[in-house]
């Protein structure tokens, strides 16, 4: 599933387009502890979180993730969005909870990260 298709699946708005919205998502993940994500993030990951700290973008870029999904209608501030634009990181925003996002992703065949 591509990032574009994932946005449709989650009924998400695209707060920031990524470099390539047709890029496939390699796995799905839910976590709100940034230090935990630093330890477990993976390339191509679709990461859902309620965390809106400015480091969310930097960490997603560091891990070469496909996209960040902000759940429950959370928003990044302008500075973070500007950073996402600069780094060409896709940021999706959905009203759904991280639980629902994960359920939908799993059902659509997006696997958890492989160890």
């Amino acid at each position: 599933m591509s990032i574009q298709e994932l946005a449709v699946l989650l009924n998400a708005t695209i707060a920031q387009e990524g470099e390539d919205m047709t890029m496939p998502v390699s796995c799905g993940y839910a976590c709100d502890l940034l230090s935990w994500v630093l330890a477990h993030g993976q390339k191509g990951m679709a990461w859902t979180t309620v965390q809106t700290h400015v480091n969310v973008v930097a960490i997603a870029v560091l891990m070469e993730m496909a996209c960040v999904i902000l759940s429950e209608g959370n928003q990044l501030d302008m500075a973070s969005l500007a950073k996402a634009r600069e780094e060409k990181l896709a940021v999706l925003v959905t009203a759904k909870t991280s639980y629902e996002v994960c359920g939908l992703m799993m059902r659509a065949g997006i696997a958890p990260p492989q160890a």
Binding site: L34, S35, A39, Q51, H53, N55, V61
Partner: protein, 212 residues
Amino acid sequence: MTPWNIVGMAKVKGLDVITLTDHNCACNLPQAMLAGRAYGVQVLAGIEITAKEDVHLLAYFADTEAAVAFGEEVYTRLPDITNRADLFGNQIIIGDDDEQVSLAQKLLLNAIDLSVDEIDAWVCAAGGVCVPAHINRGANGMIGALGLMPPLPRFPVVEVCQQLNCSPDAVKGRLILHASDAHQLADIAEQGFSLDVPAPTAKHVFDYLKQR
């Protein structure tokens, strides 16, 4: 920011005692102490540690050597993830003449592998004072991360962000500190926060916090 220009700015602002608490690193303290002596500003040695719950904890020590040794231990407990300067900035360690001598390699904004309680016990065992930082601010503040403050006698001293609301229940019975949490020179506070200690020295401030 460098240890010298931080202490210099503190002198300009007429601050008696300051603390320098880099994230998960105490390598810049020796230069800060030199600057303190040169400029006539008292510097209390410290470090800001990120617990595995993502909570930030300040640790203050009676002397620089203890703080530096503690900082080295903290650094070993960071995950082996290298900093990316383009994303997180440079992690500069300053030497003589306010010049960069090296860069900290591991990503300092990461968390170490110890919980809030484990760090509290460790700081105490090392003779330091553990003060939760900006307890009322975001996911790195203890209230946000843990939902509520552990009850007294745990954490009798807390640092509270003045710009944000803080529940009175969270701080009841505790000594409240307000810090600049300056990540830029311009953010170093004016004279605004004071402690009633016998003399304006780092030692007196440390003893005052320790005896709570």
